[in-house]
């Protein structure tokens, strides 16, 4: 194992160097913020889930970008190649993608149930229905609705 070198700041170069070396991170942040915006601003639950997916994908892109080494190939050992990208982020993200779809499915299933229970997937309507119910009757457990 090579002795860990101290990493040097390489962001002191001219603007175009900075662009090439940080472009990926900026896009990741933009995507992340779009995802966050959607989760906060959209009242529709499905749209929120799509926003979460965008957020999630931005994290994936971040990890993969971090694992990239210039001029390195895919981390599959082959004769005559010495430089490989970092396999660890690939492993983490690979499993995260499949876990992500499973949890997305869970969220969508919840949305379907909410639709059944409240007749709407807009946050406002759900809130209004809750308020109306609270005023009409003593609070029921949610499971009782459907």
């Amino acid at each position: 194992m090579p002795a860990p070198r101290i990493w040097r700041h390489s962001n002191r170069g001219p603007v175009n160097v900075l662009l090439a070396s940080h472009y990926n991170y900026w896009i990741v942040i933009a995507l992340m913020m779009i995802g966050l915006y959607m989760v906060i601003a959209q009242g529709n639950l499905v749209k929120k889930i799509i926003g979460l997916n965008i957020f999630q994908t931005s994290v994936f892109i971040f990890y993969i970008s971090v694992g990239k080494v210039d001029g390195a190939g895919a981390p599959i050992l082959s004769a005559g190649e010495t430089l490989y990208s970092n396999p660890l982020p690939h492993v983490l993200i690979l499993t995260a993608i499949v876990v992500g779809i499973a949890t997305t499915a869970l969220a969508l299933a919840l949305t379907i149930r909410i639709k059944r229970a409240y007749g709407s997937i807009e946050e406002r309507d759900i809130q209004a229905a809750e308020d109306k119910q609270d005023r009409a009757t003593p609070p029921l457990p949610v499971g009782q609705e459907q």
Binding site: M1, W7, Y23, W26, I27, M32, M33, I34, G35, L36, Y37, I40, A41, Q42, G43, N44, V46, I50, G51, N53, I54, T57, F60, I64, S65, K68, V69, G73, A74, P75, I76, L77, L83, Y84, N86, P87, L88, H90, L94, T95, I97, V98, V99, G100, I101, A102, T103, T104, A105, L108, L110, I112, R113, K115, R116, G119, I121, E122, D125, Q146
Partner: protein
């Protein structure tokens, strides 16, 4: 060249994401989400993350938009805007984004070989995995052996999510009314689709098996193979109807298999525990540590593949079965909908009782 691809694909991703955020029609947003998945998979490909691109292709571009469209078929595709909240969100998001961008100045340059992320365990994996595990695909050896415990956790999470979907949607999916089968005359009469689907399903299954067992040597493995396998079933279900595909793999069988996969994985771990090594240390499985690793990896990849395929198929069944409960499309008036769903549910309970 790589830089050009990188910049172009990321720019397209950004445009897609912005338009997803802006678009009002949810179905259009789902379409764009499909494009988003394709683009990000293309990006992973240019980054040399072939295994990730493989998975994202199957999941992000295939299954995820499908599930969203299925949900929209049940929940309606219109959404309402909220100007006030949009302003509030912008107010929150913009400063956070600006702070993060400032923070990137301390990040190592993209692609730097001496970045901290490249320093610690990665060189060990790259240099030693051939001697220790003996398979060329480093991603598979890290996934299945070095970080086998972590992957076990992920498989359990997938299984649990499947259970969650099951418990959320199971209760109301008992009824089978062929009359409400979604648009039976629209697609099932379509001879072109039927023939092509019939021709394609066998190669898809074969390909899934290839991906499953080729994962040690090239891109592939249990996660990808499971999703591809599920896609074969989903295609069958889409073209020939849910009843037909359930005759092939019944709901009970799928539930059973989703547990079997986790069980296989766990019992490999217990086996190595029983032979005196630590949990999921495959070198205990054979006299030669490297061939033990081989056996262990093949076994757990099989477990992963079975669980992922079964959970994906199960999720598809459950979502598709929801459409039968709702014989009508989502109406505009939300207050009608609740009563409709209520009666449908009542009917399902009566059916279940009878």
């Amino acid at each position: 060249m790589e830089l050009l691809l990188d910049i172009a694909l990321l720019a397209l991703l950004l445009i897609t994401a912005i338009s997803i955020a802006g678009i009002k029609d949810l179905l259009a947003a789902a379409m764009l989400a499909g494009i988003y998945g394709l683009l990000s998979a293309g990006f992973f490909m240019t980054m040399g993350a072939v295994d990730v691109a493989f998975t994202e292709a199957a999941v992000g571009a295939g299954i995820s938009p499908l599930l969203i469209v299925l949900t929209l078929a049940l929940c309606g595709r219109q959404q309402r805007g909220d100007r006030q909240r949009a302003m509030l969100a912008l107010f929150l998001v913009l400063p956070v984004g600006a702070l993060l961008i400032v923070a990137t100045h301390d990040m190592p340059a993209f692609g730097a070989a001496d970045a901290p992320a490249q320093m610690h365990v990665a060189p060990h994996y790259i240099q030693q995995s051939m001697a220790e595990i003996g398979i060329p695909n480093i991603v598979t050896s890290v996934l299945a052996s070095y970080r086998g415990y972590d992957t076990f956790g992920e498989v359990v999470v997938i299984f649990t999510a499947g259970l969650g979907v099951l418990s959320l949607l199971m209760r109301s999916q008992g009824i089978d009314e062929p009359t409400v089968e979604p648009a039976p005359n629209a697609q099932s009469r379509d001879i072109v689709l039927r023939v092509i689907a019939k021709v394609l399903i066998a190669p898809i299954m074969l390909y899934a098996l290839y991906v499953q067992f080729h994962g040690e040597y090239g891109p592939g493995g249990g996660f990808q193979a499971g999703v591809i396998f599920a896609v074969g079933f989903i295609l069958y279900g889409l073209v020939f109807g849910l009843d037909a595909v359930r005759r092939v793999a019944s709901h009970g069988l799928v539930q059973f298999l989703s547990a079997v996969g986790v069980l296989i994985y766990g019992s490999v771990g217990l086996l190595s525990l029983a032979s005196g090594k630590s949990f999921l240390d495959y070198s205990a499985l054979a006299s030669n540590p490297v061939s033990g690793q081989h056996i262990g990896i093949i076994a757990i990849e099989l477990g992963v593949g079975i669980t992922v395929a079964a959970v994906m198929i199960m999720i598809f069944y459950l979502f598709a079965a929801q459409l039968r409960l709702q014989p009508r499309g989502p109406s505009l008036t939300p207050d009608h909908q609740g009563t409709d769903a209520g009666t449908a549910h009542l009917a399902s309970q009566q059916q279940g009782a009878g």
